[in-house]
């Protein structure tokens, strides 16, 4: 481990736990809600050096490190936080990068409140997980400092002459590509879109994850010698089989994501003005429709919007609609806020930006005018019943509670299914009942030499879980190539 370049400020080094617990949690500086309703710039502005030091000093450095167990990729969190408290961000980033390749991204989009920050001893002592050490914000702080100084590409071993294909350039693919490339294998990433980054580029909006940050990570991969081929759809432009049999790729990592939008199956769902969150967000984020001067791709000019769903994607769509100038934006969710899968922070930001939450409500049908355009959404009211298989209370429709919501746009954000194209064009790949690729504990699919990870295996999951799977599969690919000889 890197040695701290500088000792901790003597005034804080000897603090007792009681003193540390007394330091107030540092709030994240944010754009004013009224101002950000009209722009797509990042909402959270990042800690100052002093805030970061203060927040890092709150860490108790407890021996059992429950935060590490809460992190899907097991970052040595107390070690990096100690380095921040000591003002040594170089050491901090070195600690993080042993386990995570994309800290600037994870620091922004990880659901820390249910992962590393949930079991934090500080939060437990103060009886409020909102008062846990802000691990994500500190991770973001050190990653941003690193990027400002220029990210040093990780060392790459001498070329082995072996070739590995990575399908998809989302979080799973990027991590897998880096880890395989480090061993000296030639890596080509195949991306169907014209821009790399996967869901981090087409899905997550600029105000939550600036695209320049994703691009910096892609640039790092390019500096490592990873080849990137965009507008290349594996399965159609070339089959998986041909990549291996004819093009010399000895192993493949499939990280094609969960791109297939689910619809509700209610009446009126194909009316003009009903769209998937994928479509809405892709138009705005990837195709740049938020700026009609530079972009050709149009986006609905909506007045009253209903977003159906309670996940992060629903929050992203609702907050995007606000920024595009909608008069009112309603999130319609059939349970209560407590059951929402979205991050607390995103829900909080949506509230601040004026999104109306219509809880315990769900669409029954969508109605349209003679021109086929949406004029309203009929909803039913719900109550919470007994817990279902997921452990969450089952939403139960209240008979006769129908009412009409006056909207001209309905955005469906009820989840995505794994991308079906690879499976459809590769008969050898086995899938589960949800269409996810079946893999063993090392990430290998039913087809020898083909590994998979991220949402194409998990369904809709998080960036960090995808990265974790990319890392596991990359290690297995490196081992596979070695054994294959």
């Amino acid at each position: 481990m890197a040695q701290p370049a500088q000792k901790e400020n003597p005034s804080t080094a000897g603090l007792r736990p009681r003193d540390r617990l007394a330091i107030p949690p540092q709030p994240m500086p944010e754009q004013d809600p009224a101002a950000r309703r009209r722009n797509f710039s990042e909402v959270a502005l990042g800690y100052t050096a002093e805030q970061a030091r203060q927040e890092a000093t709150r860490c108790l450095r407890c021996r059992n490190k429950p935060c590490v167990a809460g992190c899907p990729v097991r970052i040595d969190i107390p070690a990096f936080i100690k380095a921040v408290a000591e003002g040594d961000c170089g050491a901090a980033i070195a600690v993080i990068k042993r386990n995570s390749l994309l800290p600037a991204i994870c620091g922004r989009v990880c659901p820390q409140e249910t992962q590393c920050q949930a079991p934090c001893t500080v939060g437990k002592s103060l009886k409020d997980t909102a008062k846990s050490v802000s691990i994500g914000r500190l991770e973001r702080y050190v990653a941003d400092l690193e990027r400002a100084r220029g990210i040093a590409p990780p060392p790459v071993k001498p070329d082995t002459g072996r070739r590995v294909a990575v399908v998809g350039s989302g979080p799973a693919g990027l991590v897998a590509a880096a880890d395989v490339r480090r061993e000296g294998h030639a890596v080509t990433i195949f991306e169907a879109f014209h821009k790399p980054g996967g869901v981090m580029v087409y899905g997550i909006p600029e105000f939550r994850l600036p695209k320049a940050i994703v691009q910096a990570e892609i640039d790092t991969l390019a500096a490592m010698g990873v080849e990137l081929r965009t507008s290349f759809l594996v399965g159609r432009t070339r089959t998986l089989r041909d990549l291996m049999a004819k093009d010399g790729y000895e192993a493949v990592f499939v990280g094609a994501g969960a791109g297939l939008p689910r619809f509700m199956g209610v009446e009126g769902e194909n009316l003009v003005g009903v769209l998937s969150a994928n479509e809405y967000l892709t138009r705005v984020n990837l195709m740049g429709a938020c700026n009609p001067v530079t972009a050709d791709t149009p986006v609905m000019r909506s007045r009253r919007v209903a977003v159906v769903g309670g996940g992060n994607v629903a929050m992203d769509a609702a907050r995007t609609a606000v920024r595009l100038g909608a008069e009112s934006v309603h999130v319609v969710y059939r349970r209560t806020e407590a059951e929402m899968p979205a991050r607390i922070e995103e829900v909080h930001h949506a509230h601040e930006e004026g999104v109306v939450f219509r809880l315990l409500q769900n669409p029954k049908r969508i109605v349209g005018g003679a021109d086929g355009r949406v004029t309203g959404m009929e909803c039913l009211r719900y109550r919470l019943g007994e817990p279902d298989r997921s452990g969450r209370p089952r939403p139960v429709a209240i008979e006769g509670s129908e009412f009409m919501l006056d909207v001209d746009t309905v955005i469906v954000a009820i989840g995505n299914a794994p991308n079906p194209l690879i499976k459809r064009t590769t008969a050898e790949l086995k899938t589960n009942e949800w269409g996810g690729l079946l893999v063993d504990d090392k990430g290998m699919t039913s087809m020898p030499g083909v590994f998979a990870g991220g949402d194409i295996v998990l369904g809709s999951a998080t960036v960090i879980e995808a990265m974790g799977q990319g890392r596991v599969a990359a290690a297995a690919i490196n081992e596979y190539l070695e054994e294959k000889g």
Partner: protein, 281 residues
């Protein structure tokens, strides 16, 4: 980058480009399409692969100037490059020996029909082609179709060339023959396909249509292209573009095509002014 190796003007509004795309040329099957893009923030538009030469590594695209992107495309010259060409996309045509296949192409629909007609002929079918357009100058690929077809019927709405008829006229006569065609493949403007399907329905003649809807990614991710087929939602980009014409909800499809009409009309008007193309009624 995909270099344009040949550019031809087929009619006042229709152009044919031969474009370098070796991988797509090798993989494409009849019925498939590509998505192209002229810049990072340019629109993604689907275009049928009208033909391909795998040996030369080229594909052929035929398009009508209808909006901003097709207008810009029409301004490109031989030697220029198209930055993004993604494909081949969509499920290929089910090619088999049906017996007699009648291909009906309306206007620009002749372009997607051509590779299907080629494949149906090669599969040993007797091929009848009905080619129609509003007027003579808008008729395309007549010579190419003639070399393929065992029987050829050309018609124009205004009678300026061939029979004065809508394509549904000759189509109905074909269906009334004994025996009727074993399969009809009708491709053209949505309203034409709708009426072709209505024409063949009473005769029980199987009718395949190829739909061209609004798309963003073209790979199954946005669902903007969804249509109602037999009461079920289907994605044109991955489940199609070809569907059973008797099951497609054309009215819903046509209203969905007008989703962004205001914006499109604006740019269409500007483009036509710039190209010197006169607006139709």
């Amino acid at each position: 980058m995909h270099r344009i190796v040949r550019k031809e003007q087929l009619s006042a509004e229709v152009f044919r480009l031969t474009v370098e795309a070796p991988l797509i040329a090798g993989e494409r099957r009849p019925g498939q399409f590509i998505i192209l893009q002229l810049g990072t923030y340019a629109e993604r538009i689907p275009l049928t692969i009208a033909d391909a030469d795998p040996a030369a590594g080229n594909i052929t695209l035929v398009f009508q100037v209808v909006g901003r992107t097709t207008h810009l495309l029409a301004e490109l010259k031989e030697g220029d490059a198209i930055p993004v060409v993604l494909g081949p996309l969509g499920t290929p045509t089910h090619v088999a020996k049906y017996g007699t296949v009648a291909g009906v192409g309306g206007g620009i629909g002749a372009a997607p029909l051509y590779p299907i007609a080629q494949a149906m002929k090669r599969a040993g079918n007797r091929l009848i082609v009905v080619l129609g357009a509003r007027r003579r100058e808008l008729l395309i690929l007549e010579d190419e179709m003639r070399t393929l077809a065992d029987e050829m019927i050309v018609c124009t709405d205004d009678g300026s060339y061939g029979r004065k008829a809508l394509v549904t006229g000759p189509l109905k006569e074909l269906c009334a023959r004994t025996p009727p065609p074993d399969l009809v493949v009708a491709i053209g403007p949505p309203v034409m396909m709708k009426f072709c399907a209505e024409t063949t329905r009473p005769f029980g003649v199987r009718t395949v249509v190829s739909l061209n809807t609004i798309m963003v990614d073209g790979t199954g991710m946005c669902g903007g292209c969804r249509v109602t087929v037999g009461g079920e939602t289907k994605f044109v980009c991955v489940d199609g573009p070809e569907f059973d014409g008797h099951k497609v909800d054309f009215d819903n499809m046509m209203s969905r095509l007008r989703s962004y009409r205001e914006r499109e009309e604006e740019s269409h008007h500007k483009c036509h002014l710039a190209l010197g193309i006169k607006e139709e009624e």
